[in-house]
Amino acid sequence: MSDHAHHSVVIPAPGPGFQDHVVAHHFDTADQEFDACKLGFWLFLATEILLFGGLFAAYFYFHQMYPETFVACGRTLSWKLGALNTTVLLLSSWTMAMGVRSAQTSQKGKLLVYCALTVLGAAIFMVVKFFEYSAKIDHGFLPGRFFTDPAGELAHLEYPNMFFSIYFTMTGIHGLHVLIGAALIIWIMFGAKKGRFHAGYYLPVDLVGLYWHLVDLIWIFLFPLLYLVP
């Protein structure tokens, strides 16, 4: 009868410039490790959907309660900048997917390039956000109790502060996730440089990619709700 001595399951590097991957000790096979971590991550993404979902629920609730306010305040947002950001995120989603693909096909150089492009997309997104926020702040449209309307542009509406509270909270928390995602991708780039990721083991790239796509998914819904009112 064979031993229960420890033997490590190792996924060998496909070539020079890459590293072996040692499967975590409590798993029996590499597939089990991959499947378990993937399922775990999808469950985590499910929790993110529900976390953000609460904010969407608040949005729908108050949109129903104060329809004129939400329509009018939505018009003060620049749909062009919103559309630009949407385009940037979609492109970055594409570059991230291509990055994961590069890892799956052991193309180290391409992986690094695609990751860098994704981070660039994140940076552009945040810069555009900065300009958007500045514009609002200039008008006095701050979140919550700091909301003012010195020019009286929205004085005819009831509770315009509500729209901007929700706008800043939703885009703020989303922006936080953009930053976290970018940080994770940079971490992937460091690993990629060392050759950790290849056809035999690309799990971390896959998971970070999923996180980034989630960030994109949330924005796909945020954009029309906040920016595009007829």
Binding site: H4, A36, L39, L50, L51, G54, S165
Partner: protein, 554 residues
């Protein structure tokens, strides 16, 4: 290596002696603080949540002592508000929600699945540290001024009160993630790490229960997270969505809060139900009646629990139509619950009953849970609830299901798996006495509360009209009796760790994989990865006569 060899000869079942096991394989504080072993993490949860229970219990005792007199015996009203809030917060977030999954679930689930550990051991340790961190943050919040909103943090009061609401809100956020990650881990483990031959319908019902609980933890808790985060943001920069002064709606807070908190009560009770299933089958030496129905009913309860949260809000100002819907849907949860209760009784019926301590706790559960569940159905009826909402009737109901049922099931599981976890046996005699005292004390505490609640005694009141004095006093006496029973339990359990008899390998004659391991289990649980060939709860190979020991003999 298959698992169908006849198990229980006396020689086979002899005490283990000092072989290497997970408790002694490494020593020192750091070996525990950095452990990835699910059993050690479970033991740490056990200690931690027990301390939280102690703290919550002390607050409870303070409440009951204060309410001895109609004008209040101990505190001013403002302090009283803090005391009952602390009682609720500690009990709900730091004890009841994490206790069974964190301690018994962590220790027993991988054993029952025949695997070395949970799927994500580092995440498991993180879950524990999140629990610890959240608890420390809660302690900080107490020192930073406390909180007096009730454990439900209703707005707008929680927005305006000058207490440490942000601190406790963030503590709850952290505790919530502890719960989420635990559930996530268990789902992945159940799907991906089962032993060979262990199909879904060969899994013990404790696993099914933990699985259903884990689904709730993952799907419901995030909404609590965003809710407390929004309250914190409200207090910080006035988001306004819950604040009527800024155009917000306090009822929306209640929708968000109860969207989590109703499934949360099933996060509390489902693991307890799983424990009870195991107790009844093992100690009646009989397969569970209606195994598949019990398994499916766990999932049904999990799903239905998402549809009924508005029944906590019948007097809040929801629309009447919404209330009709919630009340109607609430009744459905009684169906799978009743399926379980009847299946359990049918399991014990004509079984070969061994009146061990775990079974006594389980039988107490059956009675107490029936009362708790039925009073829940009463409260679910909209027209009745209008009168009973926020009275002691509600308080008694949820203590019957949370304390009388969940906590009692926790004790049952503790007594059942104690020999496996620590390799020591406690005094059966003391255990039975304690169980009796707890049962009497518990009922004495809460039956008067049903009565006075139905007569209009409101909850969370620091003072009351003299007509309720006699009820409150009986309730307080009951609480003291209950407390003594619990104290006795702690004494003999702790004593067993130092001076208890060594436990047998399979103390009770269970046939699930957790009883296949040495006692206590070694670090990697199984000497050889088990392969399952038997159907679940097949007692045909157990030689119970050979198992009779002083510990098992009445």
């Amino acid at each position: 290596m298959t698992t169908h060899a006849p198990i229980q000869t006396t020689a086979h079942n002899a005490p283990q002696g000092e072989r290497k096991n997970y408790l002694n394989c490494t020593t020192g504080f750091w070996s525990w603080a950095s452990t990835l072993d699910h059993k050690r993490i479970g033991v740490m949860y056990l200690v931690g949540t027990s301390l939280a229970f102690l703290a919550g219990g002390l607050f409870a005792l303070l409440i009951r002592l204060h309410l001895w007199k109609p004008e209040g015996a101990l505190f001013d009203n403002a302090t009283y508000n803090q005391v009952f809030t602390l009682h609720g917060v500690f009990m709900v977030f730091m004890f009841i929600i994490p206790a069974i999954p964190g301690s018994l679930g962590n220790i027993v689930l991988p054993l029952m699945l025949g695997t070395k550990d949970v799927a994500l051991p580092r995440l498991n340790l993180l879950s524990f540290y999140l629990w610890l961190g959240g608890t420390l943050m809660a302690l900080y919040a107490i020192l930073a001024g406390g909180f007096d909103t009730g454990w439900t943090f209703y707005t707008p009061y929680s927005l305006y009160t000058d207490k440490a609401v942000v601190a406790i809100g963030l503590a709850v956020f952290v505790l919530g993630f502890s719960s989420i990650f635990t559930g996530l881990n268990f789902i992945v483990t159940t799907h991906k790490l089962r032993a060979k031959g262990l199909t879904w319908f060969r899994m013990p019902l404790f696993v099914w229960a933990i699985y259903a609980t884990s689904l709730l933890q993952v799907l419901a808790t995030p909404v609590l997270g965003i809710t407390v985060a929004l309250v914190a943001l409200e207090r910080w920069y006035g988001v306004g969505i819950f604040d009527p002064r800024m155009g917000g709606d306090p009822v929306l807070f209640q929708h968000f809060f109860w969207f989590y908190s109703h499934p949360a009560v099933y996060i509390m009770i489902l693991p307890a139900m799983g424990v009870i299933s195991e107790m009844l089958t093992v100690h009646s030496r009989k397969p569970l009646f209606g195994y598949k129905m019990i398994a499916f009913s766990s999932l049904a309860i999990a799903v239905i629990s998402f549809l009924v949260w508005g029944h906590h809000m019948f007097t809040s100002g929801q629309s009447t139509y919404a209330m009709f819907a919630f009340s109607f849907l609430t009744f459905f949860v009684a169906i799978p619950t009743a399926i379980k209760e009847f299946s359990w009784v049918a399991t014990v019926w004509k079984g070969s009953i061994a009146l061990n301590a775990p079974l006594l706790y389980a039988l107490a559960f059956l009675i107490i849970f029936a009362i708790g569940g039925l009073t829940g159905v009463i409260l679910g009826a909209l027209s009745v609830d209008i009168h009973l909402h926020d009275t002691y009737f509600v308080v008694a109901h949820f203590h019957y299901v949370m304390m009388g049922s969940t906590a009692l099931a926790f004790f049952a599981g503790l007594h059942h798996w104690w020999p496996k976890i620590f390799g020591k046996m406690y005094s059966e005699f003391a255990a039975k006495i304690a169980c009796a005292i707890i049962f009497v004390g518990f009922n004495l505490t809460f039956i008067p509360q049903f009565v006075m609640g139905s007569r209009g005694m409101p909850r969370r009141y620091a003072q009351y009209v003299p007509e309720f004095e006699v009820f409150h006093q009986w309730s307080t006496i009951g609480a003291i009796v209950l407390g003594s029973g619990l104290a006795l339990m702690v004494v003999y359990l702790v004593q067993s760790l130092f001076a208890g008899k060594p436990a047998m390998k399979n103390q009770w004659g269970g046939v699930t994989l957790d009883w296949e391991t040495p006692t206590p289990p070694p670090l990697e649980n199984f000497d050889h990865p088990p392969v399952v060939t038997r159907e679940v709860y097949d007692y045909s190979t157990v030689d119970f006569k050979a198992m009779r020991t002083p510990a098992n003999t009445n």
